[in-house]
Amino acid sequence: MQDFLQTEEILVNMGPQHPSTHGVLRLVIRTDGEMVRETYTHIGYLHRCAEKIGENLTYKQFVPYTDRLDYLASINNNLGFCLAVENLAQIEVPERAAYLRVMGAEMNRIASHLVSYGTLGMEAGAFTPFFYGFREREQLVAIIEKMCGARLTYHYARLGGVMRDITPEIARDTREFVRTMEQRWEEYNTLLSFNEIFIKRTANVGIIPRDMAIGYGLTGPCLRGSGVEWDLRKDDPYSLYERFAFTVPYGDGRMGTVGDSWDRYWVRMVEIKESLKIITQVLDGLPEGPIMGKVPRVLKLPVGEAYMRVENPRGELGFYLVSDGGTKPYRLRIRGPSFCNLSIMNALGRECLVADVVMILGSIDVVLGEVDR
C-alpha cells in the first residue's frame, strides 16, 4: 500500500519569468504540497558589469551609470558615488547643493517606498494599493522631472554639486506634495497597513531576529525592522544630514514578532513620513549660494582609496574607490544593499508556505538591477 500511495516533493522554478520576483530573480523552491522545504536563490540575469564599466570610464562619465543600479533610487546612488569621489578628490560641495541633494534623495526615498508599498500589496493580492502608490509617485516624479528633466534615471547629483537649481514653482509643488502625501498616508494605512487580512499575511511571517539580521549584514528597513536602530543618516551623517531633525523608525513587533514582514513594511511606511519632514526642513532652511563646487575639467584623483556609504531606501549603499592617480578608477567596488539583503532569502524561505515566500521576498524589497549590477 505504501508503495502505491506515495507523495513526492516537487522542485518548482519560480522565475526568472514570474509575476512577483521583482524582475529577473529566480527562486528554486523544493515543495511538499503547499509547504516549502527549501528555497535557493539564483541571481545574475541582469548582470551588466557595472563595476568593470566604472573602471573604464572617467569619474564624471560613471555618474549616470549609477542611476541604473537601484533604478528606483537613482539620486541616492548618484549621491553615494559623488561623495566617494569628492571625498578622495577633496572637492568642496556648496551648502545649497548639499541641501538640494538631501531633498532629492528624500524624494527618491519616498518614491521608492511607494513602489514597495504597492508591490507588497499586489503580492498579497490587493491590486488597488499599487495604483494608489503610483498616483502619488506620479506627482513626485513630475516634480523631479522639473528638477532634472528625467523620470527614472535622474542623474541629479553631480560631482561637486547638483545638476540644476530649484525654481519657486518646484518649491511650491513640493510643499503641495508634502501636504497631499500626509493625507494620503492615512488612506494607505486604512486600505492596507491595518487591514486584518494583510496583517494575517505579514505578521509572524519571515521573522528575522536581531542577531540574524546583523549576522547576515542586512541594512536599511530590513535591519531596522528587526529592532536595530541603525541609520547612516543619523549614525554616520553625510551631506549635512546632521542638521535635520527626524526620527528613525524601527520594528517593535506590534502585530506579531519583532522582525516579521509587517515590521519591515511598517518601517518603510513611517520612513515616508519622516522623509516628508526632512523635505519640509530643506525647503524652509535652503541657504543661498552656488549649486556647483569647483571641479576641474579633467578630474584626476590622487593615489589612494575611499569608501563612502549612504543610506539608500533599501539600505547601505557603499562605493569603494581605488585610484592610481589617473582619470579613471583603478578599482571600483559597489556594495549593494539589495544583494546583501537578498542573501537571507535562503534562510527564511524554508518550512513556510508558498504564499509566504512571495510575501517574504516582497518585504525584503530587492531591486534586481542592484543585486546583479
Partner: protein, 344 residues
C-alpha cells in the same frame, strides 16, 4: 416549463402531429440557446463593469478607447480570444485538457435551469431547486482540478490542489447556511423559499427581524459563495502573484474564454441564489424581474468591490476560516433556526 409546452401543443393543431419527444428536445435546445445568449451578454457586461469599477476605485478610467467610454471593450476582447491560436502544451493530457473548460462552463451554466427571474419567468420549477444548484456547482470544481492536473504544469497543479482543499472547506458551511432557510420554508424549491419571504426587507431571511439565524446564515452563504467562485479574498487557485495564473496558466484563446465566462457565470449564479434564498428573490416594490436583477447585480457589485479592496488569504487561513469559524457558526444557526421554526 413543461406545462407551457403542453398548453402550446394543446392550442396549436400542427404540433399535435409531431412526436412529443421532438417538441420537448426542440424546446430544451431553444431554452439553452436563450440562457446561453443571456449569460454571454451578462458575462460581457460584468467584465466591462468589473474593469470600469476597478478603474474608478483605483483613480483611473478603465477601458476608454473601444467605443464611447470603452463599452465595446468586451466585444473586442471576445473577438481577440476567438482569433487567438489554440495551443495545447506537449506535456498536457490532451483529452482532459480539452474537456476541463467545457466542464467548468457547464457547471456554471446548468443552474440557470432552476433560477427564477420572477414568479413565472423560470425554466423549471424543480422541487429540489437549491439542492440542484449546490450539487451541480460542484461539477465546476472537478473541471478546475482536471484543468490543473491535465495541463502538465506545476503551477496549474498547485492551483487545482488549492481548489480541492478550498472546496471541501467551503461547501459544508454553504450547505448548512442553506439549511437555515430551509428550516423556515420547509421546502427545497426556490419558489417555495421565495414565497416564505415578504415584499419588504424586514420580511427577508437576511433580516435579523425575521430570524437572527438566517441573517447570520446569509453572511456565511455569501462568504462561502465568494470562495466557491474563486473571488478575492479566496482567489488562491489563480493567485497571480504566487501561481502565475493558477489552473488556467496553460490555456489560451477560446478555452481560456470558457474559464473566464464560466467564472462570471458562477458569480452570477451565486449572487442570484443568495438573492432568492436570503433577499426575497423577486419580491419587492418593483415588478418581479427588476427586483431580482437589482438584487443580483447589487451582490455582484459587492463582489467586485471586495475584489479591488481586500488582499488574499493564505491557504491555511482559508481552511481555518471555513472549518473553524464558518462551520461552527453555521451549525449553531441551523440548530437555532430549527428551534425557532418549531417553537414560534
Amino acid at each position: 416549463m413543461q406545462s407551457y409546452i403542453d398548453a402550446l401543443i394543446q392550442n396549436i393543431g400542427i404540433l399535435q402531429q409531431v412526436p412529443p419527444l421532438i417538441i420537448y428536445t426542440a424546446a430544451i435546445l431553444l431554452g439553452c440557446a436563450v440562457v446561453f445568449g443571456y449569460i454571454s451578454v451578462v458575462a460581457m457586461i460584468m467584465i466591462y463593469a468589473e474593469r470600469k469599477v476597478a478603474g474608478h476605485m483605483q483613480s483611473r478610467y478603465g477601458p476608454m478607447r473601444v467605443g464611447p467610454h470603452g463599452i465595446l471593450q468586451s466585444v473586442a476582447d471576445s473577438i481577440k480570444l476567438l482569433l487567438k491560436e489554440d495551443t495545447v502544451p506537449d506535456k498536457a493530457h490532451r483529452f482532459l485538457f480539452k474537456l476541463a473548460p467545457l466542464l467548468v462552463f457547464a457547471g456554471a451554466f446548468v443552474p440557470f435551469a432552476v433560477l427564477p427571474f420572477s414568479e413565472h419567468l423560470v425554466i423549471s420549477r424543480m422541487n429540489i431547486g437549491i439542492f440542484y444548484i449546490l450539487s451541480l456547482a460542484a461539477i465546476e470544481v472537478i473541471g478546475v482540478i482536471m484543468a490543473g492536473w491535465a495541463s502538465g504544469s506545476k503551477w496549474s497543479l498547485y492551483g487545482g490542489m488549492r481548489l480541492a482543499a478550498q472546496m471541501v472547506s467551503y461547501e459544508i458551511p454553504m450547505a448548512l447556511a442553506v439549511l437555515t432557510v430551509v428550516a423556515f420554508s420547509g421546502h427545497l424549491g426556490l419558489h417555495e423559499i421565495t414565497h416564505a419571504q415578504g415584499k419588504w426587507p424586514w420580511e427577508w431571511f437576511a433580516s435579523p427581524l425575521k430570524s437572527p439565524f438566517t441573517a447570520v446564515g446569509f453572511v456565511v452563504f455569501y462568504i462561502a459563495g465568494l470562495a466557491s467562485t474563486k473571488r478575492l479574498p479566496f482567489d488562491l487557485p489563480e493567485a497571480e502573484s504566487e501561481l502565475v495564473a493558477g489552473f488556467h496558466t496553460e490555456y489560451s484563446g477560446m478555452r481560456f474564454a470558457y474559464f473566464f465566462i464560466g467564472e462570471y457565470t458562477a458569480m452570477y449564479v451565486v449572487c442570484a441564489a443568495t438573492a432568492v434564498l436570503f433577499l426575497g428573490g423577486w419580491n419587492g416594490p418593483f415588478p418581479g424581474v427588476v427586483n431580482m436583477l437589482g438584487k443580483t447585480f447589487f451582490l455582484l457589485f459587492v463582489m467586485i468591490w471586495l475584489r479591488w479592496t481586500l488582499p488574499r488569504l493564505r491557504i491555511d487561513q482559508v481552511i481555518f476560516v471555513c472549518l473553524k469559524v464558518l462551520l461552527p457558526i453555521s451549525l449553531i444557526c441551523v440548530i437555532g433556526a430549527a428551534l425557532q421554526a418549531v417553537l414560534f
